[in-house]
Symmetry: C2
Subunit: 162 residues, 2 copies
């Protein structure tokens, strides 16, 4: 079971966009440069985030991507689902209804117990990712990042949104 | 993010093996017949379960697979990890250390906050799958399966382990 690499990139990009000055935006190429990832691949994930309503695009010479709403209102799960989809990790194919013990589908009154345990696990996973917002992550980065890294980031951002 | 189909098959196979008479075993072909799944694919997953110590093989004309320990001592997570591996869903590639804000690796004292939120989600998912054993699932199936399905299963099993 594996999340796509785009999830890591997408969450990092949202954290950077969370510290932009009001009304500023960053193009995909600049976001890729900051994170040291391939621009074409990142662009695909940014488009998915825009389609999902997490990001919005700003047109014009200083245009690009910005968050579509306050970072406290964007959960980590919002970013995950925008990039990796919202299908549960376990897909029940109802194999209890096959083979020599099968009876008509209407006879099975409850969802399969095996399906249910995976649904509970899925809910627990989603609950953790819902409990953390992009704002929470941003506060964490600002508090924990090495001082020199923060200074370098601030200089880069100043220049990038000028 | 998706678990392999083999996880569903493997958990169902373990539940069936949990109700075998003591010392009985079922060959891969019989387990595949009962679950209505392709024998060659199921065999691959049964081998993985045996390598992980969840199942053991019994040689001879009435040989096949059986659980290697009591079903109360086999968690759903044991089966998942045997078939799908134990890698976490999120792989942190430390992209915070790339690009214009990067500083030497030793300067980052804590794991990346983005990595940490996914680790918490992963732990919550694993905790749910650890809390349910093959014995729990077997009790659920016996209590909830349609009566006619249980009778058909019992007849098939009687014949299969004769």
């Amino acid at each position: 079971m594996k999340l796509s690499d785009g999830v890591e990139w997408g969450v990092h990009a949202c954290v950077l966009l969370a510290v932009l000055p009001t009304d500023a935006a960053l193009p995909a190429a600049r976001l890729a440069e900051y994170h040291g990832v391939p621009s074409a691949y990142l662009a695909k994930h940014l488009q998915a985030l825009a389609r999902a309503g997490v990001l919005e695009t700003v047109k014009g010479p200083r245009g690009g991507y910005r968050l579509s709403r306050p970072p406290a209102e964007i959960t980590v799960l919002d970013v995950v689902e925008a990039i990796d989809g919202d299908e549960p990790a376990f897909r029940c194919t109802e194999i209890r209804r096959r083979g020599p013990s099968a009876v008509p589908a209407r006879e099975y009154r409850l969802p399969c117990g095996i399906h249910r345990v995976f649904s509970r696990a899925d809910e627990a996973w989603r609950a953790e990712l819902t409990a953390t917002s992009i704002a929470d992550l941003t506060v964490g980065v600002v508090n924990e990042a090495p001082r020199v890294a923060m200074e370098k980031a601030a200089r880069w951002l100043d220049e990038a949104v000028r």
